[in-house]
């Protein structure tokens, strides 16, 4: 489903690469943690998968599509197959919960009738059916991340990328988000979570890919967050 073949990414010509000769395969329906310290290259990997960046070297394929070869006009359609959530939620602050989730359907021209059906269903899945009228700035961090999740999933993408989804949350909300991700994975979505939350990674016993200084140093089924220091 997701393949990285000898992928390198440098931001400058002479500096150290953010990713260096990384190869990785993630199959359909997997739940994978990508862990590592700040600056290890985890977020660069997410940006490459979202086609915010292109690799300096190597090849990335997602669902058989060579991501670097996508033409500019093909990128929006490609991104609709990948739901994504971020540490800072990235919600449209001046719109309410319903509008934020509905927006993901509007951009792919889903008829309003279907949107009115899909959005409440998705808000129920993330546990916020009664908050649909609230402005996002009125919500707690955990609630905002759930709205972000609902938005990421409303179009039924086969892949969900989560970049530090618990980074701004307290432990209780972090666990609730992780349980939601697990549930989403159980329903068939491939989930890739970039995090440095050791406690959660170690407790969930999923596949763990550890990145250090732009290189994959371990890749284990039911792995743990290994403290390299």
């Amino acid at each position: 489903m997701i393949t990285l073949e000898h992928v390198s990414k440098s931001y400058t010509n002479d500096g150290m690469p953010a990713l260096n000769d990384v190869s990785l395969q993630i199959d359909k329906g997997e739940f994978v943690f990508i862990v590592g310290d700040s600056g290890s290259g985890k977020s660069t990997m997410i940006k490459l998968l979202l086609r915010e960046l292109t690799p300096s070297d190597g090849r990335i394929t997602v669902n058989g599509v060579d991501v670097a070869r996508l033409k500019r006009r093909q990128i929006p359609k490609y991104r609709r197959n990948i739901g994504c959530v971020f540490q800072d939620f990235r919600l449209l602050k001046d719109r309410n919960v319903y509008e934020n989730v509905a927006f993901a359907q509007r951009v792919i021209e889903i008829p309003t009738k279907k949107i009115k059906k899909n959005v409440p269903a998705m808000l129920s899945l993330v546990g916020l059916p009664e908050k649909y009228k609230s402005k996002t700035r009125q919500l707690s961090g955990g609630e905002q991340q759930r709205v972000a999740l609902a938005r990421a999933l409303v179009n039924n993408p086969p892949i969900l990328l989560a970049d530090e989804p618990t980074g701004n949350l307290d432990p209780r909300n972090s666990w609730e988000i992780m349980r939601l991700l697990e549930e989403i994975n159980r329903r068939g979505t491939t989930v890739v979570v970039v995090t440095h939350n050791r406690e959660i990674v170690n407790a969930m016993r999923k596949r763990v890919v550890t990145v250090k200084k732009g290189v994959i140093v371990s890749d284990e089924e039911k792995g743990e967050y290994i403290d390299e220091d």
Partner: protein, 299 residues
Amino acid sequence: MKISTLVFTFKQGFKNIFRNKVFSLATVATIAACIFLFGMFYAMVVNIQYSIEKVETSVAVTVFFDDDITEARIQEISNQISSRSEVSSINYVSADAAWESFKMDYLGEYADGYEGDNPLAGSENLEIYLKDVSKQSELVAYLETVDGVREINHSDATANILTKINELLSYVSLGIIGILLAVSLFLISNTVAMGISVRREEIAIMKLIGATDFVVRSPFLIEGILLGIIGALIPLAAVYYIYNNIVEYASQHFVILNDLLQFRSATDIFHVLIPVALVLGVGLGFFGSFITVRRHLKV
């Protein structure tokens, strides 16, 4: 594009105005300021030109004829002159009409002594009015070659002064339009810079969700056009109000200048100003939005 998407796009464009109130206000103020300056300047220039035109049309070239000329020949010359492109109108003044006019203007009751006599016999003439006073010398040169013409009265000085004023007005207009354009560009570039910072995050989110450039751009363009229309209507109303008050005030308080100051009606001014201001407002709003959004589309 589906109708529901089109309706959504329009709604978003309209809502955007209220979402970023400060930005909307700044944009409307900028466009309104530019169009207000343009409107006031346009009204001023049109009125100056109108006054000059009035003066120009009152400047006539007078042609007198040989004593033995026939009425038929005068008519023939008159027809030839009328057919020239620079001629606006032509007026034949017979010797009798000239004498009647003279009596009325200068003699009054003292004219009784001249009863049955016309001291101005042989002074029949043609008064020629020009469309463009700068063409006067060209016409005079032609008239000098016409057979049967005895004398041509004209004022080079008046024609030259009016031509110079017209030229000066053109240069001043161009200069002021240039300055207004520079000021407008400066104001609009500042507003655009503000728009860029306001929209950066929002556009990035839309792009990550998978919105096409068209879907991202359309509401902002509609917002820009709406702000442009509002930004045009406000100064139009202001200029209309100010113009009518100035005309009313000037005609009431400067009666002595009424012959010199010729005001165009507000209808005449706004017949041109309304479409120009709307095109300018919509254009500024549209391109302002276009530039701000384009900067963030490459996500």
